[in-house]
């Protein structure tokens, strides 16, 4: 009795503990994907945070409106390039072009050097130089914007010799005017909330369809479904379409909250928003469906969703400035639907972009959709093999 009790009694048994621990190890080893995640996630996180993410982005696309050309103007443009904050990508003419360039995201900054700049500088009249800033993402823009006055000053300083040398003493010889557009107060909520809409849709939409086929397989209902003459496209479209409505509902809720709780404006054209959001939801649902053709269980489908979600939030420009990432990370980001959605939705909601301005974000989504749908349909198995 006593020996028996020591071995099998209700007290903590090392043997039982060992048995359970062993079993868990064996199961962990069999579940390759979980194991890969345990190893893969820290590696991925470290690489992304260590190399890709940079909250002090440089090489931001900048356009120049040259009202005057002279040594001072050239020196300023030169100094901006040298600072590595600004990449001068070209010149613009007129307010309309400046607006379009900023709205479509073609440029984050536009420098306007006014007419008679050189003359006014020489006369000591402290001419203005204007920097238009796309401030939708305060983090991305702030470092470059705040360095601008210093860059201008040091660019002009060497020119102030001889007759102009007394200008070097007093107040700055050039008055820098910063014009923060779209998010003048620099509130991060304005930038985050539209992006959050995309992030939440990415997670829910992908997850919903990712478990679509694996759930049928796990419950055994896939066999009945496959025994009917159902065609792959019918199954995919049938599985996806109910969730488009769910996505629309989620969007409506989030837009309502964004407006009432955070005062996020909605400046753009509803058709542009509708086109963008529909495309984005369908792309994510298709990605989920692709996962469900790859996964062997609902658990795996959820893991794949998570694997996809992580780079989506980190590399899309939602959380960290897109321009701050190195080239490879930007390329990776371009392949993620959230990247295009975040750009598009910020443009529509905060900058008042219309359908035409949003097209640049819609067609990449269409390409991603075509690729994903083709893969999913080719992966969809019509037999139980």
């Amino acid at each position: 009795m006593t020996a028996e009790r020591r071995r099998f009694g209700p007290r903590f048994s090392v043997a039982r503990f060992g048995a359970i621990a062993m079993k868990e190890f064996v199961q962990m080893r069999r579940d390759r994907l979980t194991f890969a995640m345990m190893v893969g996630i820290p590696i991925m996180q470290l690489i992304l945070f260590g190399y890709a993410i940079n909250t002090d982005p440089r090489h931001l696309p900048t356009l120049v409106e040259l009202g005057d050309t002279g040594p001072a103007s050239r020196a300023i443009v030169q100094a901006m390039e040298t600072s590595r904050y600004f990449d001068i990508e070209g010149v613009v003419f007129g307010a309309a072009d400046i607006n379009t360039a900023l709205k479509t995201g073609e440029a984050m900054f536009v420098v306007t050097i006014p007419a008679n700049f050189e003359r006014d500088l020489a006369r000591g009249e402290r001419p203005q130089i204007l920097l238009d800033v796309d401030a939708t993402d305060p983090v991305a823009a702030s470092a470059a914007a705040s360095s601008f006055p210093r860059i201008v000053e040091s660019a002009v300083a060497p020119l102030l010799d001889g007759a102009l040398s007394d200008l070097a003493q007093g107040p700055p010889p050039v008055e820098v005017v910063l014009h923060r557009r779209y998010n003048a107060s620099g509130r991060s909520a304005l930038n985050i909330v539209p992006g959050l809409l995309g992030t939440i849709l990415t997670l829910t939409m992908v997850l919903m369809t990712a478990i679509a086929l694996t759930r049928e397989a796990e419950r055994g209902t896939l066999e009945s479904l496959l025994a009917t003459p159902a065609q792959p496209l019918e199954v995919m479209a049938g599985k996806i379409s109910p969730f488009v409505l769910v996505g629309v509902l989620q969007t409506a809720i989030m837009l309502g909250l964004a407006r009432t709780l955070f005062g996020v404006p909605f400046l753009g054209a509803p058709p542009a928003f509708l086109a963008l959001i529909t495309m984005f939801v369908v792309v994510n649902l298709s990605i989920g469906f692709l996962f469900s053709t790859l996964a062997k269980s609902q658990m795996q489908a959820m893991q794949m969703t998570f694997f996809f979600f992580l780079p989506s939030i980190l590399l899309s420009g939602f959380m960290f400035p897109f321009r701050g990432m190195p080239g490879w990370a930007q390329n990776l980001g371009e392949a993620l639907p959230l990247t295009h959605f975040v750009r598009g939705v910020r443009a529509v909601m905060l900058k008042g972009a219309g359908l035409g301005d949003t097209w640049a974000q819609i067609w990449p989504l269409a390409i991603i959709l075509a690729v994903v749908a083709t893969l999913a349909l080719s992966r969809y198995r019509r037999t139980l093999d």
Binding site: A227, Q231, L384
Partner: protein, 308 residues
């Protein structure tokens, strides 16, 4: 192919990795037959049926179902065959009616509502129509599954162990329904483990280790297996069972209530083995007809380890 042939497969083979599950399988099922498909667990019955209805791609061989090629015309077969899976595979979170309605839509059944209502009546499912299918008991689930797989009036039904785990009353009701379908001209291929069901079939194919061992009209099975059987009655037959088990000439011993059925392929050797017992006054030994069960247990011997 004969116009009256519904299933005609030749050399059907299925390998999963290096494991051959079905090996060079031939079968011809005539129109209107109830064809029994027997074999131990893991013998390849389900795999064979799945290949016949386009759910698995054969690794080798060829064949037709209802005249359609089992590889090329899988969609046409799926549209015209009623397949009832071994495991309940309808939606457990839909009601009985919703499940039937879904299947009716998938098969584009004309007058869907009418067809579903008629099927509910026909299979006596009407009182359960609004019940969630997952909460049905085993017998009701089977009944729903049969109703769902016959809803589109397929001329061929493939039933994979449709009555496994169901009580005898439900099994009898189920077989009544199969009879009604067959009387209506439907061809039925049904796999089973139950002998009382096997005897109701017109013909039986027996498969083991993926190979077909026998395929004959039910009445001829016992003769084809070629077993001779003797019946021993008496008290305390246990020592006799032990004694005869390894005796030459005895291939199999089966217990039937208070009697032993001893069978062997060679009648002379069998009788020789029994000769010493005939002298005992407490035992009664006589000839007996070899039953299906003895025939199949004999066929299964040696495939016992084939569980998957």
């Amino acid at each position: 192919m004969n116009a009256e042939t519904v299933i005609d497969v030749r050399g059907l083979t299925k390998r999963f990795g290096d494991k051959t599950v079905v090996d060079d399988f031939d079968m011809t099922v005539p129109k209107g037959a109830i064809y029994g498909f027997l074999g131990p667990n893991g013998s390849g019955k389900t795999t064979t049926i799945r290949m016949m209805c386009g759910l698995l791609r054969p690794s080798g061989g060829e064949g037709t179902c209802l005249g359609y090629d089992i590889v090329r015309d899988a969609d046409l077969i799926k549209a015209n065959v009623g397949y009832m899976t071994q495991k309940f595979s309808l939606y457990g979170d839909l009601t009985v009616r919703e499940n039937l309605d879904f299947m009716a839509r998938m098969h584009a059944v004309p007058d869907r509502r009418g067809a579903v209502a008629a099927t509910l009546e026909e299979h006596k499912l009407a009182p359960r129509a609004e019940q969630i299918a997952g909460t049905l008991s085993g017998g009701w689930k089977q009944r729903l599954a049969l109703a769902a797989s016959s809803l589109h009036k397929p001329p061929l039904m493939l039933l994979d162990e449709p009555t496994a785990g169901v009580d005898p009353k439900a099994r009898r009701d189920f077989w009544d329904r199969i009879r009604i379908l067959a009387d209506g001209g439907v061809t039925v291929l049904v796999s089973t483990h139950y002998m009382d069901e096997a005897v109701q079939c017109d013909s039986i194919a027996f498969i083991s280790f993926g190979k077909k061992l026998i395929d004959a009209p039910t009445a001829d099975i016992a003769a084809q297996v070629g077993l001779h059987t003797r019946r021993i009655e008496g008290r305390d037959l246990r020592p006799i069972h032990a004694q005869l088990k390894d005796a030459p000439g005895v291939d199999q011993i089966a217990r039937f209530g208070s009697a032993l059925h001893v069978s062997g392929r060679d009648a002379a050797k069998l009788d020789a083995a029994l000769a010493p017992l005939r002298a005992r006054p407490d035992l009664e030994i006589g000839p007996a007809k070899t039953g299906l069960e003895e025939a199949f247990i004999y066929l299964m011997t040696g495939s016992e380890d084939n569980y998957q």
